[in-house]
Symmetry: C2
Subunit: 268 residues, 2 copies
Amino acid sequence: MKIAVVAPSCPLKREAAEAVEAIVAERGDCELAIHPQCFLIDGHFAGPDEARLAALREVMADPSIGAVWFARGGYGSNRIADAALADLPAAARGKLYMGYSDAGFLLAGLHKAGIDAAWGPMPQDVLRDGGDTAVHRALNWLVLRDATALEPHIQRPAMAFNLTVLSNLLGTALEPDFSGVDLLVEEVSEHLYRIDRTMFHLTASPNIRRAARLRLGRVADVLPNDVEFGTDEQAIVADWCARSGIAFGGRADIGHDAHNRVVPFTSE
Amino acid sequence: MKIAVVAPSCPLKREAAEAVEAIVAERGDCELAIHPQCFLIDGHFAGPDEARLAALREVMADPSIGAVWFARGGYGSNRIADAALADLPAAARGKLYMGYSDAGFLLAGLHKAGIDAAWGPMPQDVLRDGGDTAVHRALNWLVLRDATALEPHIQRPAMAFNLTVLSNLLGTALEPDFSGVDLLVEEVSEHLYRIDRTMFHLTASPNIRRAARLRLGRVADVLPNDVEFGTDEQAIVADWCARSGIAFGGRADIGHDAHNRVVPFTSE
């Protein structure tokens, strides 16, 4: 299988690219094509919108590519998502797309367009503690569909999102149908009051209320409040689920870390 | 006129209350009733949801109160807004409600319910540099309907919101009709990439796209990115307006500061 790496958000670090190439060479079960766009820098982004879009459209249209692996998160895939999903070439449909965090904008839109999308570790994760394991887990799913890569308690259909990304895609053209979905969320570098506010927004959505249940992944690097908020992330999420009639399914094994598991958006 | 002060979000500082009481005593044109709930502390909030809701409902139902003035922002009015607006007593309708920032959740819901709401300075603002002027400006509108308090270029109907608050009330029961509205937004303590992401969310809304125009107030205390974002707040807002077909009306004289002007949500 040939796996293309593109960066619809922020640039990939060279040392991450090299480390992942070394892992792939050692495995010998797939081929990696890291698009040069991954290393472009334009302010916050991995090149201007046009360059990020062109690279993504190029690998989507390439029938020799079996999977598109988003290089990393950050911010910016939403800026090109609508254009990336317009007038889809036939070759775009026959592949799996994987990433998480900001890439959730694309995963949502791809899934809505009937294309295989999965939440899972990304190339830049190789730089985390235990990052080799995360990269192997992603490749085990991309190449082998190895079920040990999966979040262990998902009831498919399932989806996973960063909480803030999910909140920001509600009401946009990217919003998928959450009916009956095992919906996993995680968060990083937010204040608890923001998580509370985002849960207010999220759980007001009739579409979100149609989810089978909501489960909470890891909430990392919570930013300190000037006053203690007075409760914790699990109580916040459980409270908004109770207020809105959504079943709270407890914790989930996803997050901005090397232990992040794979959540395929497909039903089987 | 008797003006009630309640705190649906975070606690009011004692020294702010005293300074505003001194200003009101000196003016002699109104009476201030600072509800004791303003000084409650429950973690992040000015008392638990039940106490904040009860104080708000109490002053809403009191026919002797001519205006309800929200003590300050922070976070939390969204947690009680639905309950505050349910089964409204007749006396709730004959008064003006003023505040900004987090109070925008209530202003939106009140306006949607056909009640007079206005964006404007709050009691806690007296502690800012030039805060006396801000408090006089608010009182000049509350008591005298003095047009010099108004944002100078509003074309009514107008509304004003903190950008993040506005994004978080879209799709909730609080979302008002923006058709033909001069919509003013401002922001404080956010990264530019977040402002860009919030504008993506906001401008995807068909309701927001029905606004007459979008105008940008001050964007204060922008948090530094690890990499420079590459553009500024005005270019970001103008760009998303252009992408979504909303008229960008330039800058507006509102913000988290003592110069913050009044924006009545009523049509005249």
